[in-house]
């Protein structure tokens, strides 16, 4: 009996963790390149919606996932265009995209499913409940690839250079804005994939279903000190904390306080109470090429 409970607890924690982990890894790419991306929240939402629509029409989860990822990249492209090419304020761009995402998904949900609040049921990944389902394995691979590509490849070096010292990177012939575009687009793709998970996990789309996960992902990335592995640990921590309150309702801890946990931890980390958390030096600052 205890074992069954533990496995259920563990699986639930993983299920909660994944939609934090994917956008969180995405955020790492974006911010390592020097672009703050709070549009993750909106991308998750659009990703979940596109996945639902794609799967609804084709009954094929792979096409659904493709829709989620492509829509994520497209939204990432808007953010890049506004924040990198036009050097507009990255935070405001992100907020605008999140508002836009809320509107677009409800608008088309109403048109396609005749209800602005939820879609019809779609098939999902039935294997989601297995401990080693393909989606979870995929996430672990993405995590490993994220770490390797950021810290062990030439691409990662260039990306980090664009975020740490764009002037120096530029003088070495690195195309700073191109690296930043790539960082943001990767974050779009990963967040879109996170949206796919949300849609499959619930077998439908409901309005606002990203429910702040994009911001939790951002928090995890900060707590993880802009490192994919650190972000993953933070996401797991949040996943297990939430799963714990869901499984042990009688523990008496109000769920709202568990909900606060990621945000409170982020503030504590940023204040420097748990080691030093330093963002990339040029994070959030558009690169002005000097002629």
């Amino acid at each position: 009996m205890d074992d069954i409970l533990n496995i259920a607890f563990f699986l639930q924690a993983l299920r909660i963790t994944i939609p934090y982990l994917l956008p969180s890894l995405g955020a790492t790419f974006s911010e390592k390149g020097g672009v703050i991306n709070i549009a993750l929240e909106g991308i998750l939402l659009v990703g979940a919606f596109s996945t639902t629509v794609g799967t609804f029409y084709t009954h094929n989860i792979f096409i659904g996932i493709l829709c989620g990822v492509i829509s994520g990249v497209l939204i990432g492209l808007i953010h890049s265009y506004v924040a990198i090419t036009f050097k507009a304020n990255q935070i405001v761009s992100g907020i605008a995209i999140n508002i836009l995402a809320l509107g677009i998904t409800k608008f088309f949900c109403k048109i396609i499913f005749n209800s602005s609040s939820n879609s019809e049921r779609i098939i999902g990944l039935e294997t989601l409940n297995l401990p080693f389902n393909p989606f979870i394995i995929l996430c672990v691979i993405i995590l490993a690839l994220s770490y390797i590509s950021i810290y062990k490849t030439k691409f990662g070096l260039r990306l980090r250079a664009a975020g740490e010292n764009p002037e120096a990177a530029d003088s070495l012939g690195i195309n700073v804005n191109k690296m930043r575009y790539i960082g943001v687009l990767i974050s779009g793709a990963l967040s879109g994939l996170g949206g796919s998970w949300l849609a499959f996990n619930q077998h439908s789309f409901t309005d606002g279903m990203s429910a702040g996960r994009g911001y939790i992902a951002l928090a995890a990335m900060i707590i993880g000190k802009w490192n994919p592995l650190g972000a993953a640990v933070a996401c797991l921590l949040f996943g297990f904390a939430e799963s714990f309150t869901l499984q042990f309702q009688e523990s008496g801890i109000p769920t709202q306080f568990i909900q606060m946990l990621p945000y409170v931890l982020t503030i504590i980390v940023l204040a420097g109470f748990i080691g030093k958390a330093t963002p990339p030096a040029a994070d959030g600052i558009p690169y002005e090429k000097k002629d």
Binding site: I38, I78, Y81, V82, F86, K87, A88, N89, Q90, I91, V92, S93, I95, A96, I97, N98, I99, L100, A101, L102, G103, I104, K106, F107, K110, I111, S116, G212, Y215, L218, A219, I222, P254, Q256, F257, Q259, M260, Y263, V264, T266, I267, L270, A271, G272, G284, I285, P286
Partner: protein, 348 residues
């Protein structure tokens, strides 16, 4: 003369941005086979063509004026307040709490008390970010975002666990003595609309901000810090104190954002009442270039969109206005490069 020219250029730029946004928005309408011209016409006629519609627009504009002001004041101090949403929620809860806790007080005590509670609630919440910035140097952007979510969880806890009314997501009703009357009830104007006296409070807040920033020594210091922190330091201004104080004032004003809903409309605090007004306030402040009178006009425009959505819901899903809001913000910040709008340029 130069300033006048600049204002005209700014206004013109904004109008161009809005026209471009409406054109982009019309693609969404056309894609679902409806006529954008008819939709936009209805959107403006149903909102501005009768006194009920105008009342609704002003009602929707009221909290946006306050959150817009909140963001603008912080901007003046060189701080980016993303936290108006959370400050407004804490403030609105405090407003309601005072209203239902001290229900036996007469109106001339209870209304000021309720307003003060809202201000203090918002000011307290924002000053957390101010203190974190002043004491640890941690950036207010991320902290105010995080504080928004903590605030939402906190009010959710209070509404669900402490001051709950079974089967609802709102608090008990406030005393009648705390009501801010509707203009309809007072004058018969704007018949049927929930447009109420809190609008006056919002206008007074605009005047107060204008006075504070341009006519007082404190405003001078805030302005100096916003323009050039090093110059302010050199002039022996207390940067830490100014940071906390600016955030507290900004948060206090956002905290008043709940008056419209709590005291003027539903007479209780309800989860989700703010409808993103805190975030829209950022757009309002940016588009109005932090000018308190510009903020009133821009808020009314967003009010038209918010109420207009309901008016056109029979033709196209009302979410088209949410799409328009997003597009307008993106267009304005993109065009700011072209029109050289200082306040819209990326700052850190």
């Amino acid at each position: 003369m130069n300033i006048l020219k600049k204002n005209i250029a700014n206004g013109l730029g904004t109008v161009i941005a809005i026209i471009i946004s409406l054109i982009i928005g019309s693609l969404f309408i056309a894609v679902i086979g409806k006529n954008p011209y008819i939709v936009y016409l209805k959107l403006f006629i149903d909102t501005l063509g009768n006194t009920y519609g105008i009342g609704q627009v002003l009602f929707k504009a009221t909290p946006l004026i306050l959150t817009g002001l909140s963001v603008a004041i912080a901007f003046k101090a060189g701080l980016f307040n993303i936290g108006a949403e959370g400050q407004m929620n804490i403030g609105a809860f405090a407003t309601a709490w005072a209203g239902f806790t001290f229900e036996s007080l007469p109106w001339y005590f209870l209304i000021p008390l309720s307003i003060t509670a809202g201000f203090i609630g918002g000011a307290f919440w924002a000053s957390i970010a101010g203190v974190l910035k002043a004491r640890f140097g941690s950036h207010e952007v991320i902290n105010t975002i995080m504080l928004n979510f903590i605030a939402l969880a906190l009010v959710s806890y209070f509404v669900n666990n402490v001051y709950f009314v079974p089967a609802t997501i709102h608090t008990p009703e406030i005393s009648q003595n705390a009501y801010l009357q509707r203009f309809d009830a007072l004058t018969g104007l704007f018949k049927g609309s929930p447009f109420n006296i809190s609008f006056i409070a919002a206008l007074l807040a605009c005047l107060a901000m204008y006075y504070l920033i341009w006519k007082t020594p404190l405003g001078y210091e805030i302005n100096t810090m916003g323009l050039n922190k090093n110059a302010a330091k050199y002039a022996k201004m207390d940067i830490k104190k100014l940071t906390v104080l600016s955030m507290a004032i900004a948060g206090g004003i956002a905290g008043l954002g709940g008056l419209n809903f709590v005291n003027g409309y539903k007479h209780y605090f309800e989860l989700g009442f703010s409808e993103n007004a805190g975030y829209i306030g950022i757009a309002v402040a940016l588009i109005a270039r932090n000018n308190p009178f510009g903020i009133i006009i821009v808020s009314m425009f967003f009010g038209i969109l918010e109420y207009g959505g309901l008016a056109i819901n029979t033709i196209v899903p009302k979410e088209i206005v949410t799409i328009l809001q997003g597009i307008i913000i993106l267009t304005v910040i993109t065009l700011s490069r072209i029109f050289d709008w200082e306040t819209l340029k990326s700052t850190k």
